[in-house]
Amino acid sequence: MKTGEIVSNRVLQDEYYEVKFYAPEICRKTRAGQFVHVKIENLKDRILRRPFSISDVSGDGVLTVVYKRVGKGTEALSTLPAGTVCNLLGPLGNPYSPPDNEEFPVIVAGGYGSAATYLIAKNSPGKGILLLGARSKNDLILIDKFTAAGFEVRTSTDDGSQGHKGFVTELVDRVIEENKDKKIRFYACGPTPMLLALAKMLQDRGCNDAELSLDHLMCCGVGACFACVVKVRADNEDGWRYARTCKEGPVFKASEVYTGE
């Protein structure tokens, strides 16, 4: 098999797909929270790569990406058959720092966020909790995998079709309350508005070692173009600076996230 060769590519659930690439070198280096930058070979009239979190890696060199079909690139990707070779760059970005034996991991995820954080659960020495939010029940993905990794999964949906009706951030306080005795370590990945709300909450609650994966439309993926920036706190007159999520992130400490404005 060639590096980047698609091993399988199938519908996971609703508009979500799972593609597996043969990529032993990337797998070997991957740590939770990193991403691959994929050149989608059959993409017409468009030339840029598309970034996807590495959802899983296997010992025999198979890398899993879980993606939602949202536009031209993911549409094209969803039609690529096994055997297609795609050029992959990665692993890119800074990973989450994994929970240690003392810590109780609580993952807060929205959208494809559960895919982006699964490796934390998989590699966690102890059990933990996944708070998973989505628009609707069809968007709640990978619950089984988290459960199999020993995580308790609590869900919320905007439309109430499964779990708590409302924002996933509304589940956070109860978890803190319930696990007062433990050394909770928060991890999060999801849509930016959710992450900003969560960062504010966690900053207020003093959970400064929480780690959030913030991203933005990417271009180079390696820190060269300054397309993907988000505001992080900085020691200058504005109180913030633009940090490149591909290189300085996507994982940032909750305390770094600039929530003003």
């Binding site: 439309l217 820190g223 173009c225 300054f226 988000v230």
Partner: protein, 307 residues
């Protein structure tokens, strides 16, 4: 063996392929991909007097055959560039041929950054003056779209540095050859072109521009025909070396620019598609020269047949 070196008058480069400013960061970002000495030159992202946030986001949008960007020249400022480990100190150590792209909001700012770089010029092969910036003092008219301003900024910079000067021309003008002549007369040692074409793309669902800044610069294969045409016009208008760019993805694309009259080329947007693109372009040029029995790059510069 083909001789790939190119003599740009004031300095030589190992091969005709540079990186386009703003698409290769400060070189540091690609250090794990290959040895930067393999490149003809590393042209860094624009440096100004002070650190700058750049524009609000979103800053890029993909369009047919290319992309729009309005990064807005985010950068560390000249101090940090000269002394921050991942900037000039790293580049000096890398052994790469380094060209520093500079910008300012007024002639004074341009001169200040040029003078600062001149004062610590070790390892800097040349300055590339990005004149596509709006002159805030003159009410926002871009230096690069006003012949008198273009001449003025280059001649003032010329006074404060003895470093070779490359002026990077804007394609958003009626006659780019006039600008090439003006900056050559003002003391520019070379010209580079093209910068991005001003464009716009609207999200019809939100009815907002895909770019927070509303307009952005178009780059990539979509602009190649315009770029080749402008290089052709400029190469016939001035005697000084010409560095051509705009949509170069392959060695064949680069050869088109050389035939049109470019002495060297730069690869930009292609780097986002493939970090190894500049090396592939070098290889492609070499293969073309070998196949055509040429001994040096110079043999094909401007070698387009007259009709």
């Amino acid at each position: 063996m083909v001789d790939l070196t190119v003599d740009l008058g004031k300095f030589k480069i190992a091969n005709p392929v540079m990186t386009a400013s703003g698409t290769f960061g400060y070189g540091f970002e690609y250090k794990d991909y290959y040895d930067l000495r393999e490149l003809g030159a590393v042209v860094v992202k624009g440096i100004a007097v002070k650190p700058s946030h750049g524009n609000p986001t979103p800053r890029v949008a993909e369009v047919a055959g290319g992309m729009l960007n309005a990064i807005g020249l985010q950068g560390p400022g000249v101090d940090k560039f000269l002394h921050g480990a991942e900037y000039m100190p790293f580049l000096r150590q890398s052994g790469a041929t380094v060209i520093v792209n500079i910008w300012g909001k007024s002639i004074e700012e341009y001169c200040e950054v040029a003078a600062r770089l001149d004062a610590e010029s070790e390892g800097i092969a040349a300055l590339e003056i990005n004149i596509s910036c709006p002159n805030v003092k003159e009410g926002g008219i871009a230096f690069g779209t006003d012949l008198k301003l273009a001449h003025k900024v280059v001649s003032e910079i010329r006074k404060v540095t003895s470093l070779p000067l490359i002026t990077k021309l804007s394609p958003n003008v009626t006659c780019i050859a006039d600008f090439a002549r003006a900056v050559a007369a003002a003391g520019s040692d070379m010209v580079s072109l093209i910068n991005t074409l001003t464009g716009m793309a609207i999200n019809i669902e939100t009815r907002r521009s895909y770019i927070a800044n509303i307009t952005g610069g178009l780059s990539g294969p979509a602009i190649k025909p315009v770029a080749v045409r402008m290089v052709y016009e400029v190469a016939r208008a001035v005697e000084i070396p010409v560095i051509g760019m705009g949509g170069i993805m392959t060695g064949e694309d680069a050869v088109e620019f050389l035939l049109a009259g470019a002495d060297a080329v730069a690869v930009g947007t292609a780097i986002f598609v493939d970090p190894y693109a500049p090396l592939k372009v070098i290889k492609g040029i070499q293969e073309y020269l070998e196949r055509h029995g040429c001994k040096s790059v110079g043999e094909i510069v401007g070698a387009m047949e007259k009709p």
